[in-house]
C-alpha cells in the first residue's frame, strides 16, 4: 500500500508498504527515524513508545496499515529547532541516561504522563512508566528526571 500519515507534524509517505509490517519498522527503516528503539518487538519493554493521535503506544505492536491518515509523534519530534524539550533536558541533567536504549521510549512516555498529569506523585510516575524497562539505571535517576521536568514545566507555565 501507499502509506500516508503525519509524523512529528509533517506529512510522511512510503510506497510498497505491506499493511502488516510494524509502525516501528516504517519509522526506523523506511522514514529514517531511528529514535524509537526495537528491544523486544512484542510490546513488553516500551523502547518503541510513540504517540498515536496523542496516545502513548508501542510502535512495534501497531501495524503500518493502522496509521493511515493518523498522527504519530516520536522522540525526534520532542525538541524544538535548537532547544531540547524540558523532559529531554531533565534526563540529561539528572543523569537518567546510561546506554540510552530505553531513553527515547521513556521520554515519550514521560512527556505523555506530564501532559496528563503535570505534577505526578512518585507512585504515579512509577506506575505510569512501569511499561518502559531500563536495565542500566535502576530507575532512580529517571524518577529524578521526571520530577525535575515536572517542576520546570510548571515554572515555564508560570512565567
Amino acid at each position: 500500500m501507499r502509506l500516508k500519515f503525519t509524523v512529528n507534524g509533517r506529512q510522511a509517505e512510503a510506497d510498497d508498504v505491506w499493511e502488516g509490517e510494524s509502525l516501528l519498522y516504517v519509522l526506523r527503516e523506511r522514514l529514517g527515524l531511528p529514535g524509537s528503539k526495537n528491544a523486544c518487538e512484542q510490546g513488553e519493554c516500551g523502547s518503541c513508545t510513540v504517540r498515536l493521535d496523542g496516545v502513548a503506544a508501542c510502535a512495534c505492536l501497531v501495524a503500518a496499515g493502522q496509521v493511515q491518515d493518523r498522527e504519530v509523534d516520536t522522540v525526534e519530534g520532542l525538541a524544538g529547532e535548537d532547544e531540547l524539550d524540558a523532559v529531554q533536558r531533565a534526563f540529561v541533567d539528572a543523569g537518567a541516561v546510561q546506554c540510552g536504549f530505553c531513553t527515547p521510549g521513556l521520554l515519550v512516555a514521560a512527556d505523555d504522563l506530564l501532559e496528563r498529569c503535570p505534577s505526578p506523585s512518585d507512585s504515579e510516575i512509577r506506575e505510569s512508566l512501569a511499561g518502559n524497562l531500563c536495565r542500566c539505571t535502576g530507575y532512580e535517576k529517571i524518577m529524578d528526571a521526571v520530577r525535575l521536568a515536572a517542576d520546570r514545566r510548571a515554572e515555564e507555565a508560570r512565567s
Binding site: V97, G100, C136, K141
Partner: protein
C-alpha cells in the same frame, strides 16, 4: 607508588557527553548505521538439543519474492578455523544445543527473511541429550582453570578438622538460577564485505575484541576487518565475548558481497545465542568459635558449562579473599551439558559467589548471637587471605559501619519475625561485596590539533557506563587542560587497540593509557606541545601488583516487607556503601552503582531462566516471562561511597565500579527476608510461595 594525576576534572559531576544525542534519538546504534541497499538476515535455529541434520528443504522458502539466498551447512562458505566451536557456524550437520544457528535467510526485507526462515524444513536424527544440572551427577569434572585463569581448587589448612573441632558450625547448600544479561539493545551486527575487506557495525563491548576474535575464524587479516561501535545499548558481559551471530553475519556478507547484511537478534533469540549465567549449586561450610571468629571457610561449587565450549564461572573465587579464616577450601566442579554456551554476566564469579557465603555468614552470626555487621568486622583479614599480601586499600569494615549508621541498622531487634506493620512483616539485612581491581592493556594516541585542542583516540567502548565522559575527564587532567579542550574518539578499530569493556577494567586500563600518552606528549614535545605534535602511550604492567592485593569493597543493606497473608515481597529500601578508590564522575558512578544494585534486586526476586530439560530450551525466553524489575518494582535505592585514596592501583587512583554494585545485593535481600519472616531462603529467586508457611 604510581605517579598520580592531579584531579581537577576527575571527581566532578560532568554531564554525560553523549546525553544530548541519546535524548534526541540521534546517537547511532549498530542497526541504525546508514547503509545503502541493505539486506536483512533472519536465522534458522535448531529445534532439537542434540543430533544431526539429515535433510534440509529450502524450496518453499526460496520461492518467496525477495529472498536473496539461504545459507546452511551445505552451501555456506568454509571457515578458516573451527577451533572455537561456538563460533563455527554452518560448518557441520551436528546440532549441539537447541536454538543453535543452523541456517540463515538473506532477503530484501526483514519480514520476508523471517517468513522464509519459517518455511525452511529441517529433518533431524535426534540423539538423547543431557540438560539437567545436579551435584549428584557422576560426570562432574574439575576444569583446568576458572574464568579467566584462576586455579579451580584451593586448599589451605584443614577444613575438616577445623569443622569437627569448632563449637559452632554450618554446612549448607545454596543455589542461584540460570540468568540472562538482557541488555536493552539486542545483539546486532551490520556486516559489509567488499573486496576482501569486512566492515562490522556491531553492538559490542570491544571493537578490537571482535576484530581479533573474528579474523582467524573467517581467515581474514585483522587489518582488513573494521569494527565500529560508538554507541552500545548495554552489554553486562553478553557483548564481551563475541558470539556466533557475528560470524553468521560475516558469512552472509561474504555471500552477498557488496550489499550490507543487517542482523539483529530478536529478544527471544538472545536466550540461546548471547550467553547466560550458569546456574550454581554452592555448598558452604563455616566453623567459628563462640565469639564468631571463623576458623574454617569452605565453598564448593557445582555449575554447568556447554559441551560446545567450556566456560567455567569463578563462583568460589571471592571466598578466597573476603574473610580471614586459617582453614580454607574452594572448589569448582562442572557438568558439561547440551546447552547453549554460558558466558560473562555482570560480575561473573563474584555475583553468584557472594550469594551463598553471604547468606551463610548471616546464618552463622545468628548462631553465634552476634550482630551480622559485627560478625563481618570480627573476620576482617589483616592481609589478603589468599596471597598473604597487604591490600592496596581496603575499607570493607568502614563501608559496613557507615552503612549501618545511614541505614538505621542499630534500631533493629535482631530477633527474626519480630516486626509487623499493617499486615507486612518487616526485616533488614546486610551483606558484603568485593570485586577485584584489574587492568588490561590498551594504547591511546593524543594529537595536538590546534592551539589548546587535543584529539585523543583509543578504541574503547561506552556501553552505557559513561566512557565518553569519564575518559574525557581523565584526558583533561592528564593534559592539565579544561575538558572543553579534549576531543575524545572511541569505539573504532581505526583507533589504537583497546581492551574489552569488562571486568570493571575500562577506566583503569584506558585511563592509564591516556595518562601515559599525555606524559609522552609532554616529555617529547614540551609544554605546551606544538600543533601537530603526537604521542602514544600504552598501559604498562603495574609493578605494585607484586606487593599488594587490589580489590574494591562495599556493604549492601536492604529492607524487605513480606505480606503476612500473600507472601508478596517488596524491597522498599536499599543502600550500598562502596570503597572503590577515587570516583571519576559522581553523576555517572552513582547511576552505575544503583543500576548494579537494582540488577541484584532483580536477581533476588525476579530472574530465573526456566529450562525444559526434556527439550533443552528456555521456555520463558522473553520479557513477558523472564522478569526484570520495572520502575514500579523498585523503591528507594541509594548508593554512596567512602573517599578512598589508593596510589597503587593506577595514576587516577580509581578502581572499577561497573560490577561491584550487583555483588552481595541479593544476599542482603535474602537475609532481610529471613529477618522479616524467620524463613531462611537459600534458593534464588525468592518468590511468594517460599514465604508462605
Amino acid at each position: 607508588m604510581t605517579s598520580q594525576v592531579t584531579p581537577y576534572a576527575i571527581g566532578t559531576a560532568l554531564q554525560r557527553l553523549d546525553g544530548r544525542s541519546k535524548v534526541t534519538g540521534t546517537a547511532p546504534y549498530a542497526f541504525e548505521r546508514v547503509v545503502d541497499n541493505a539486506t536483512y538476515l533472519h536465522p534458522v535455529q535448531a529445534t532439537i538439543a542434540l543430533g544431526q541434520i539429515t535433510a534440509i528443504d529450502t524450496a518453499e522458502a526460496e520461492a518467496l519474492d525477495g529472498v536473496i539466498t539461504i545459507l546452511t551447512h551445505v552451501n555456506a562458505p568454509r571457515l578458516a578455523s573451527t577451533e572455537d566451536r561456538e563460533l563455527a557456524v554452518l560448518q557441520t550437520d551436528r546440532v549441539s544445543f537447541r536454538g543453535q544457528l543452523i541456517g540463515a535467510v538473506i532477503a530484501d526485507t526483514p519480514e520476508t527473511a523471517r517468513q522464509a526462515a519459517g518455511l525452511v524444513r529441517i529433518s533431524y536424527a535426534q540423539w538423547p541429550h543431557e540438560a539437567e544440572l545436579s551435584s549428584e551427577r557422576s560426570d562432574l569434572y574439575t576444569p583446568e582453570a576458572v574464568n579467566p585463569s584462576f586455579p579451580a581448587d584451593t586448599d589451605e589448612g584443614d577444613v575438616d578438622t577445623a569443622m569437627s573441632a569448632a563449637p559452632v558450625t554450618l554446612d549448607t547448600t545454596y543455589t542461584t538460577p540460570l540468568e540472562y544479561n538482557n541488555p536493552m539493545e539486542p545483539h546486532t551486527t551490520v556486516a559489509l564485505w567488499n573486496d576482501h575487506e569486512l566492515t562490522l557495525y556491531d553492538s559490542t563491548q570491544g571493537a578490537h575484541t571482535v576484530r581479533t576474535t573474528v579474523a582467524p575464524v573467517i581467515g581474514l587479516d585483522p587489518e582488513r576487518i573494521h569494527v565500529s561501535a560508538p554507541h552500545v545499548g548495554g552489554g553486562f558481559g553478553s557483548k564481551g565475548i563475541p558470539h556466533a551471530h557475528i560470524v553468521l553475519a560475516a558469512l552472509a556478507a561474504r555471500t552477498v558481497e557488496g550489499r550490507p547484511v543487517k542482523f539483529a537478534l530478536t529478544r527471544q533469540q538472545m536466550f540461546s545465542l548471547a550467553g547466560h549465567r550458569t546456574p550454581t549449586i554452592q555448598r558452604v561450610r563455616l566453623a567459628a568459635d563462640t565469639d564468631g571468629r571463623l576458623s574454617a571457610l569452605a565453598h564448593d561449587v557445582v555449575e554447568w558449562t556447554s559441551k560446545v565450549k567450556e566456560f567455567a564461572e569463578q563462583t568460589a573465587v571471592p571466598s578466597r579473599n573476603v574473610y580471614a579464616a586459617p582453614n580454607r577450601r574452594t572448589s569448582h566442579r562442572l557438568a558439561a551439558l547440551d546447552v547453549p554456551v554460558p558466558s560473562w554476566m555482570r560480575a561473573p564469579g563474584e555475583c553468584p559467589g557472594m550469594f551463598g557465603p553471604e547468606v551463610a555468614v548471616d546464618e552463622m552470626a545468628l548462631k553465634c548471637g552476634i550482630d551480622p555487621v559485627e560478625f563481618r568486622a570480627r573476620n576482617e583479614p589483616d592481609v589478603d587471605p589468599e596471597t598473604g599480601k597487604p591490600f592496596s586499600s581496603r575499607h570493607l569494615v568502614e563501608c559496613l559501619r557507615e552503612g549501618a549508621d545511614r541505614f538505621g541498622w542499630h534500631h533493629r531487634d535482631p530477633t527474626p519475625a519480630s516486626r509487623t506493620e499493617r499486615g507486612w512483616l518487616v526485616g533488614t539485612g546486610v551483606a558484603s561485596s568485593i570485586y577485584p581491581t584489574l587492568r588490561a592493556v590498551s594504547t591511546a594516541t593524543i594529537r595536538v590539533e590546534a592551539a589548546d585542542h587535543y584529539r585523543v583516540d583509543i578504541g574503547a567502548t561506552d556501553i552505557g557506563t559513561g566512557t565518553w565522559t569519564a575518559l574525557t575527564q581523565i584526558a583533561a587532567d592528564a593534559l592539565e587542560v579544561p575538558v572543553g579542550h579534549v576531543d575524545l574518539r572511541i569505539g573504532e578499530t581505526a583507533q589504537p587497540e583497546a581492551s574489552v569493556a569488562g571486568g570493571s577494567t575500562g577506566n583503569a586500563t584506558w585511563g592509564t593509557a591516556i595518562v601515559e600518552a599525555a606524559r609522552a606528549l609532554q616529555d617529547t614535545h614540551g609544554r605546551p606541545p606544538e600543533i601537530g605534535a603526537e604521542a602514544s602511550g600504552t598501559t604498562p604492567n603495574n609493578p605494585e601488583t607484586e606487593r599488594f592485593a587490589m580489590f574494591a569493597h562495599g556493604a549492601q543493606f536492604a529492607e524487605v516487607r513480606v505480606h503476612a497473608d500473600t507472601g508478596e515481597i517488596r524491597v522498599p529500601r536499599m543502600l550500598g556503601v562502596f570503597a572503590a578508590g577515587r570516583i571519576i564522575n559522581p553523576r555517572t558512578a552513582h547511576s552505575q552503582f544503583i543500576g548494579g544494585m537494582t540488577m541484584g534486586l532483580s536477581m533476588a526476586l525476579h530472574e530465573v531462566g526456566v529450562l525444559d530439560t526434556r527439550f533443552g530450551h528456555v521456555v520463558n525466553h522473553d520479557f513477558a516471562e523472564y522478569h526484570i524489575p520495572t520502575n514500579a518494582d523498585v523503591g528507594d535505592i541509594d548508593a554512596t561511597w567512602i573517599d578512598e585514596d589508593d596510589p597503587y592501583v593506577n595514576p587516577m587512583g580509581a578502581k572499577g565500579i561497573g560490577e561491584i554494585g550487583i555483588v552481595g545485593a541479593a544476599a542482603a535481600i535474602a537475609n532481610a527476608a529471613h529477618h522479616a519472616t524467620g524463613i531462611r531462603l537459600r534458593e534464588l529467586p525468592i518468590t511468594p510461595d517460599a514465604l508462605l508457611r
